[in-house]
Amino acid sequence: MSTIWQSLELLITRGLPMTLLLTLGLLGTGLLLGFPLAFLQVYGYRPVRWLCRGYEQLFRGVPALVLILIFHSGLSRTFDILLPAFASALLALGLRSSAYQSQIFRGAIQSVGEGQMLAARSVGMSKTQAIRHIILPQAFRLSIPPWTNEFSSVLKDTSLASAIGVLELMKQTTLIFTRIQFIHGAQWILVILMLAALIYWALTYLGNVGLSFLESRMRIPGFETKGQVER
């Protein structure tokens, strides 16, 4: 029993912080890049839109692990660029998240009813003012639910960083259960894996609760999904 507590403690103190750091870092990078991308895709000139679309397809179409290995081993072998493991993971998964997030924001912006832009222009707002004061505030609210999904996704993606030596929750789990097999027996492997699963689950749950709270704070009374409420 004390083994369980000990392992749990180790997972939480050694593995969890890095997982959290990675998750926040990935979401942050994804947000920083993804939002401008979405914006350009909706409002930019055609060649710019093309480029953004290409970027999105590229990073969404390649498996996360492949991306990580490309940034980590691929770059080092071909171009002699040696990134520390954390940086490789952050870049690879961060760029990937930015592609997904750009899709989320693009969808949200486009969901805002066309009438909103028309009304804004009709009272004399410039396009910029309309986007800033009318479109984006609504798009932001619309993007919270899909963004919650992205959070879940990214949290699970962080476990892939273990493949290149980042000591996060998954790697810490393997370090523990490989030892435990020699001391207590192989059946314990399952126990340790369950503990890790429990922690991932708890993180997802807490994240969802937090985002739900944000969503309810931002909710517009009576506003269901998109654009107009006719009667």
């Binding site: 083994t3 000990q6 392992s7 180790l10 103190t13 050694r14 750091l21 926040l24 870092g25 979401l27 942050g28 990078t29 947000l31 920083l32 290995l69 980590h72 081993s73 080092s76 072998r77 002699d80 040696l82 990134l83 520390p84 493991a85 954390f86 940086a87 952050l90 870049l91 273990s162 493949a163 290149i164 030596g165 000591l167 790697k171 810490q172 393997t174 370090l175 523990i176 259960f177 490989t178 030892r179 097999q181 020699f182 001391i183 207590h184 027996g185 192989a186 059946q187 492997i189």
Partner: protein
């Protein structure tokens, strides 16, 4: 959210600077720390084991610090070979295909392979390997290579590969495979820990383990390492480490290590090894 992402950007920049700045004489050591008794992580997260302590002792003698990272076995040769990590200390057998990526030190250990089977099975070493059974091995290990060679030679055996050795053992216990091939010390340790499995036999493969560095040894580390090993042997430290790690109870060794590591931190290589050996064998 914006603050967090800014912090992360800064962190990434710092991480990037890491590689650029030569931080004195601290060498980055890569090790697949899932392999007692050569390298593993104890219940408190300390990294210990024969390979790691040998490296630590060499560091003290030769005047450098080491920073150990837990690496996945599959990319360890790539990462040391490319120079991202300075030294690999991970129970690696010296093999020609590996020598294409890294440079090895002089052999510091000789190992054999062992075959594990379920205690209640009738298999012996011959039948396990040639009787049409399924044998598990860790990816990229010499054990896996051995089975692959058998298959190529027409022997009737099936190979199942695992990313981690304990997963193979788990499958053996559960009956999904019939045997596991793995270096002898680890096999013996597993058999000791589990009632359900036993060592069917040992194959004398006389594999030599070597520490490894980037191709061409740009930092001139191999000389330091080989010389260090020689010194450890002369001082009796090497034998003490063997006595401490090979064939002993893992939990005892862990406790002994935690009790003795202070000596090594103070620079007392001989004292550390002798106390470790004593306490581990009590």
């Amino acid at each position: 959210m914006k603050k967090a992402s800014l912090a992360i950007l800064v962190l990434t920049l710092v991480a990037g600077l890491w590689t650029v700045a030569a931080v004195g004489e601290t060498y980055k050591v890569a090790s697949d720390t899932t392999w007692p008794p050569f390298e593993w992580s104890d219940a408190e997260g300390n990294l210990l084991g024969f390979d790691l302590d040998v490296m630590r002792c060499i560091g003290v003698l030769q005047g450098f610090e080491i920073d150990i990272s837990s690496y996945d076995w599959e990319i360890i040769f790539d990462d040391v070979g490319s120079g991202r990590m300075d030294i690999g200390a991970s129970g690696a057998t010296i093999r020609p295909d590996r020598e294409e990526k890294v440079d090895f030190s002089a052999p510091y250990w000789t190992s054999d392979q062992a075959i594990l089977v379920r205690a209640d099975s009738e298999l012996n070493i011959i039948t396990a390997l040639a009787g049409g059974y399924t044998v598990g091995a860790q990816l990229e290990t010499t054990g896996a290579g051995f089975i692959t060679d058998l298959i190529a030679a027409g022997i009737n055996v099936t190979l199942v590969e695992y990313t981690l050795y304990p997963l193979a053992v788990l499958d053996l216990i559960n009956g999904n495979i019939d045997a596991v091939i793995q270096d002898e010390p680890a096999s013996v340790a597993s058999a000791t820990a589990e009632e359900d499995i036993s060592v069917a036999g040992v194959i004398k493969t006389d594999e030599n383990f070597g520490f490894f560095v980037a191709e061409g040894d740009p930092k001139g580390l191999l000389a330091l390492i080989n010389d260090g090993v020689a010194q450890l042997k002369a001082l009796g430290v090497y034998d003490n480490l063997i006595a401490a790690y090979m064939g002993t109870d893992l939990v005892k060794v862990e406790a002994a290590w935690r009790a003795s590591i202070g000596l090594l931190d103070d620079g007392d290589v001989v004292g550390f090894a002798s106390q470790l050996a004593t306490l581990a064998n009590e």
